[in-house]
């Protein structure tokens, strides 16, 4: 079991006193792709928010081990430095802050955490150029303000670009396919695939099979009412595509 990256054990979390996650158990190893599916409101986005330390949510029970670190005790930025990345469902706009300045602050904060010298301006720009190509991101986009005036597709490509820059161990893609046309979806998915390695792992949160045609999962989990109610291989996603979630709802409704 030496290649376990993430181990979620009986995780409960709530927002404003309302429990959303009701005992999540999940183990992810290096090199794996896990898809998490489920109907609206089942807690998929909450899971990604809780893992990354969004302060709106309170963890009430359970533990999360991230390659030997107690994830829940770390600040959001330290979770990032330890190699956790979230591709946001709705990336926020930060007016006036250029992508270059933003990424430079991010990269250098991580290097500082790892006791490394900050990257020189020229090395940094070289790195940006190289990573931009992975998601076919325009140079112009990189010099614009963070997500400001980006189209839906550009925002998602920008998320994957940031993922490429930060080289995380575990990436969570939260409904990265929502709002994407088929070309943008292909570019984003290809970007994710290029970044896959034997060392890292990916959690793909999605409603639809569509994205999983491009990013092949090793495991598919169905999240319903704050619990993982079913785990299977890629065939489970195909099954859901045919039959919808109704049978899940019926089976697990109490």
């Amino acid at each position: 079991m030496d290649n376990i990256l993430l181990n979620v054990n009986n995780l409960h979390a709530s927002i404003n006193g309302k429990e959303i996650l009701k005992g999540i158990n999940l183990t992810i190893r290096q090199g794996e792709v896990h898809a998490i599916m489920g109907p609206n409101g089942s807690g998929k986005s909450t899971l990604s928010a809780v893992l990354t330390g969004n302060p709106s949510f309170t963890v009430t029970e359970g533990s999360v081990d991230f390659h030997g670190k107690d994830l829940l005790s770390l600040s959001p930025e330290d979770r990032s430095h330890e190699g956790l990345f979230l591709s946001f469902q709705y990336p926020v706009e930060i007016p006036g802050v250029s992508m270059v300045n933003f990424m430079r602050a991010a990269i250098n904060a991580k290097r500082k955490y790892l006791n490394e010298e900050p990257l020189s301006a020229s090395d940094f720009l070289k790195l940006m150029r190289q990573k931009r190509a992975i998601v076919e991101l325009d140079n112009k986009l990189a010099s614009r303000s963070v997500n400001e005036g980006f189209s839906g597709g550009e925002k998602k490509r920008n998320e994957i670009f940031q993922m490429a820059m930060l080289e995380p161990l575990l990436s969570i893609l939260d409904e990265t396919d929502s709002g994407l046309d088929i070309d943008a979806l292909r570019i984003v998915a290809e970007g994710v695939n290029k970044l896959k390695s034997q060392e890292n792992a990916t959690i793909v949160i999605t409603h639809y099979q569509r994205l999983l045609d491009y990013i092949k999962p090793d495991f598919v989990h169905i999240l319903y009412k704050g619990r993982i109610v079913m785990t299977g291989g890629p065939e489970l996603a195909l099954e859901l595509e045919k039959t919808g979630y109704d049978w899940i709802k019926q089976k697990y409704n109490d």
């Binding site: 959001p76 979770r79 802050v97």
Partner: protein, 489 residues
Amino acid sequence: MSENKINNAPAADEDILRQATGDEYKYGFVTDIETDIIPQGLSEDVVRLISEKKGEPEWLLDFRLKAYRHWQTLEVPNWAHLKIPPIDFNSISYYAAPKKNAPHSIDEVDPELLKTFDKLGIPLEEQKVLSGMAVDAVMDSVSVKTTHKEKLAELGIIFCSISEAVKDYPDLVKKYLGKVVSYRDNFYAALNSAVFSDGSFVYIPKGVRCPMELSTYFRINASGTGQFERTLIVADDDAYVSYLEGCTAPMRDENQLHAAIVEIIVEDRAEVKYSTVQNWYAGDKDGKGGVYNFVTKRGLCRGDYSKLSWTQVETGSAITWKYPSCVLQGEGSTGEFYSVAVTKNKQQADTGTKMIHIGRNTRSTIVSKGISAGESENSYRGLVKVAPTADGSRNHTQCDSLLLSNRCGAHTFPYVDIMNETAIVEHEATTSKISEEQLFYCNQRGIPTEEAVGLIVNGYAKEVMNKLPMEFAVEAQRLLQVTLEGSVG
């Protein structure tokens, strides 16, 4: 600059963000120096004493006395959105000077004083003045040393203390002093005209582009004193100058009064850029101490196609009351005002500009960015006035407020007074808050909250920061970041 402290606390939690300001005011030291200080209080005798100490000619004493008598008839202005505690004008000393006066070379300057300016990062010593910036340094009431004077003199540029100018160029000073800001203008202008001690004088002759930034650093050191400096800048036809002003003060429990006047005259096709980074001591977290900054700044674009541009980054002072203005008299003249005003803790600022369009086809641009944190009050107050003579004049005003807490105030008071139907006047305003989503997004990318706030605030203020001269912009950016450490929430 001091290092930025990075606080690794979890983001966005209001309580955590509300925690005490991380960075101490780093200019809060006091220089132990022998000071010639006159007793507290204000009277005709005090005005005469100041004039005598400075060896002034009769006409200037007359000017001061007229101003003093007029001042006595005035009431403290209270129309601004400010709570100003009563000020006892008789408990202030109106003249303080480091004892070793009027040095002729660097060797004659008191070493303690040099250390002070060293700490402030002012390259006073000639050999250090490689940055290409000429500096006039004013400590308490007197100008201590002006650098690069000889080099500027070759071009016919005069850059010296106003006291020297009175002695060496009396005709020029007499011609322009009080012509843009009359001693009758307002309470603090009258007070300054009566007791002003020193300041800078700049004259750029016809057709000369000043090859370096001119800069004045103001420092209040002595306790119980006020600082009343006066700056006069004249750009003759086709001249250009970029002028920078910086200021700091020691941390003291009592409030100190700073009431300055800046007058600028811009002749035909001339251009003046005036940049300020104001960082007077702002008082402590509870609002104790700090400088009262009551300043009258105005420029007269007298010449056709002349241009005056004010850029200010205001982060200090307990109370700020200032409205750098442009009187656009010459045809086709242009006035600009770019401002970032930051208030935190219990600071109060009421600042903005006046654009007075008199000439035909005059243009003005106002970009004001207010940032309020803590329990501070931050107001923009601006006037756009178009006279009946100002055919085809245009103004664009953009007035933004950024709130960093739930307990601060941001206000805008835009006055528009249009008496010419061909004028086009536009006003845009926005109010925004740094959102928790923005902070969390930055945190998730590994950027700690403090640094994220700095990034976001600098992004917000970028349009103004870009107007600052390069050397200043970096310092101002860092200042903005340091000033706001720990003040979100």
